[in-house]
Symmetry: C2
Subunit: 241 residues, 2 copies
DNA sequence: CGACCGTTTGACGCAACTCAACTTCGGTGG
DNA sequence: CCACCGAAGTTGAGTTGCGTCAAACGGTCG
């Protein structure tokens, strides 16, 4: 028993400081299982613009997002594009139980990933009921997000859409915000063009709404990518509530 | 062993003709488990317009859709509404692992449901790894659908949106269509107003695009709810491909 | 410095919305 | 049976929010 305890505390070097072990899917694994998975693991750093998974190609690996932002998108044959999700640490990339993911995953900012083979993850799933559960939970969270965004895409004005996006980023960039703290500053992980693809708008309209939000005092901008929100409640209102 | 075999073939009366046992979540259960679940089960028939689950109220039960169409929707405070999903037999209604569903489920047509308590389902999940898996699979399918629809909402024209909707219904109304069979006739489960809420449009625009599709020969209409598609490939094209 | 890329701003056009009239249909009661 | 009603759908005329096209404005890099 003592030996087992020691063994259990022997978390793989690679995983020791990893956020995915606390808030992500790897939290479901015991030290032994973690060790096994980590043997098939490769840490990579990708530059903005790198395609991690492409829409119609077979998936051969999964990846945990360790830092940065990954955008999931779909394109039509004529080039029209829609971003259908954003992944932050410690989300998992990949579509379980399917050969093709149906979406393209591309780094929006430079990002760190922890990649492992499809087979390795599937082995973990088989051995750990908790792991299965974690994956299920993540799928449900993504579904909630997708539906929330459908409301935004279908029914909100351009102004509300941009405000909704800023709110999304404000929340994601500081998940542990205390409630009283009513202010936020952050870097936008997306260009205007990517924001447009997320919101179902054009670059120009996004830009105009950003100016409108600035002029009405809801946001302040240092550079084109740095946003300060002096009053999150006002932003909330601007986003349609 | 023989006794067990006999026992296993003893599928509860209620479940015998149920589609959910073949293509739905109940397929994951053994006869014993099915029997246990069926003890906490209530078959109900609801009229069009009945609210099955409401957005911000605690969930106390789940339900399998046996027939009919259930719409899932979200509303904004000012009344703007977006349908975020449609459920057909043998889908499962309910959001596992959460107190509130976040969406309202309402019968679009008169529907038959097989309802069971949250507790009963959760017991099944605990006992059956397959059941967990089924739920996970359904969540992933719903996620794929939601993302497909985000592309429609964000990037397609009104004409393409309506065509996409008709295609969705055509496929759902006859899941076992053979490939060569290039024609379809079906009843629309939604009113124009509901279609508008699904597509992020107004009633008038939906109506105009329906006439446009009719005039261009992509569809024919017997009544306002009966649609015939003489050539599914043309409808496919009209929906943006 | 000049070339380039991402962004902003302006002028204009059009797809979808709004408002309103009319038609169709199913139901209800005289 | 028909007259009447309300709800759902269609159609038209006018408006507008967002898209398109075009020009100008920074940053960054060779």
């Amino acid at each position: 028993m003592t030996r087992k305890d020691i063994h259990n505390s022997d978390v793989p070097e690679l995983c020791r400081a990893c956020e995915a072990r606390h808030r992500g899917v790897c939290g479901a694994l015991s030290a032994d299982e973690l060790l096994e998975l980590s043997r098939h693991t490769k840490r990579v750093e990708v530059a903005a613009g790198t395609v991690v998974i492409s829409e119609e190609e077979p998936i051969e690996s999964y990846a945990n997002v360790l830092s940065g932002v990954i955008k999931l998108s779909k394109v039509m044959e004529d080039g029209r594009q829609q971003i259908v999700g954003l992944k932050f640490a410690p989300d998992l990339l990949g579509r379980p139980f399917r050969e093709v993911s149906g979406v393209t995953a591309e780094a929006a900012t430079s990002s760190k990933l922890c990649m492992f083979s499809k087979a390795a993850l599937e082995r973990s799933v088989k051995n750990s009921h908790d792991m299965t559960n974690q994956l299920h939970q993540q799928a449900l969270r993504e579904l909630d997000d997708a539906r929330e965004w459908m409301l935004t895409l279908g029914r909100k004005t351009a102004y509300e859409k941009v405000a909704s996006f800023l709110r999304l980023i404000a929340v994601a960039s500081d998940p542990e915000r205390e409630d009283g703290h009513n202010e936020a500053t952050f870097q936008l992980p997306l260009t205007r063009s990517e924001m447009a693809d997320f919101l179902g708008l054009t670059i120009e309209t996004v830009s105009r709404q950003m100016t409108a939000l600035r002029k009405s005092g809801v946001i302040e901008m240092e550079t084109t990518q740095t946003v300060r929100v002096p009053d999150l409640a006002r932003l909330h209102l601007a986003s349609g509530f």
